[in-house]
């Protein structure tokens, strides 16, 4: 398992290499990118803050759960924090598995669970203001 909170550009190719293995037939990779609009507003940039120690722990828990729930081979996740421009990549999740269904399902599970329970927050900067984006309320 490779799980990391980073402040620099994520190297997607590196994460893919990390999940390669001879027993692997499928790799699914998800990239979250900064979109130029949200709720009808023109977004100029996004700022990601995080509770780093807890985010790291939660990400590791999510990946551990994936290994239990899906027939996956290897998982690599990096989430970037700081101020990101439009088009920049905020998160990369790479999952490898012998058969393709598991890669797709586990990769989707990781991003959905990140958005529900990992203490990372983003602030949108748009023309005329800034706002903390309200996401899911993490379940206790």
């Amino acid at each position: 398992m490779h799980v990391k909170i980073v402040t620099q550009k994520i190297d997607t190719e590196k994460l893919i290499k990390l999940v390669e293995a001879d027993s692997v037939g499928a790799i699914d990779v998800f990239l979250g990118t900064v979109r130029n609009n949200a709720n009808g507003k023109n977004v100029l940039s996004l700022e990601y803050h995080c509770y780093e120690a807890m985010a790291q722990k939660k990400l590791e828990e999510i990946v551990t759960q994936c290994y239990k729930n899906f027939e996956v081979e290897k998982i690599a996740v990096e989430h970037r924090t700081g101020h990101l421009k439009i088009g920049e990549v905020s998160v990369v999740i790479a999952v490898s598995s012998p058969h393709r269904a598991a890669s797709f399902e586990a990769c989707r599970f990781v991003i959905e669970t990140i958005k529900k329970s990992v203490p990372i927050w983003k602030k949108e900067y748009f023309e005329g203001g800034e706002i903390w984006v309200e996401g899911y309320s993490p379940e206790v």
């Binding site: 990601y48 985010a55 722990k57 989430h79 990140i114 203490p119 927050w121 903390w132 206790v140």
Partner: protein
């Protein structure tokens, strides 16, 4: 007893600080700590009923009784990814 409280994102902006160490009575729970914090940082009242309690990197119910040395954070709805 003494606890450490961390503030992130909207909590940090409203509290105006990212961390404090605090003396609180024995047997204080999450709700009790929140009341103490709202007295020190009245702006936090804006977030009432918004945050989840995290103690030592785990989400726990607000009724959880705190212990000396705990690292505590109130977690606003997350929006990463």
């Amino acid at each position: 007893m003494k606890v450490k409280v961390l503030f992130f994102a909207i909590y940090k902006e409203l509290a105006g600080t990212s961390k404090i160490e605090l003396e609180i009575p024995e047997n204080t729970n999450g709700n009790g700590l929140l009341e103490i914090l709202e007295t020190k940082f009245p702006e936090l009242k804006k977030l009432r009923n918004v945050g989840k309690l995290a103690v030592n990197l785990n989400y726990v119910p607000l009724e959880t009784v705190l212990s000396n040395g705990d690292e505590i954070a109130f977690i606003a709805p997350v929006s990463g990814g």
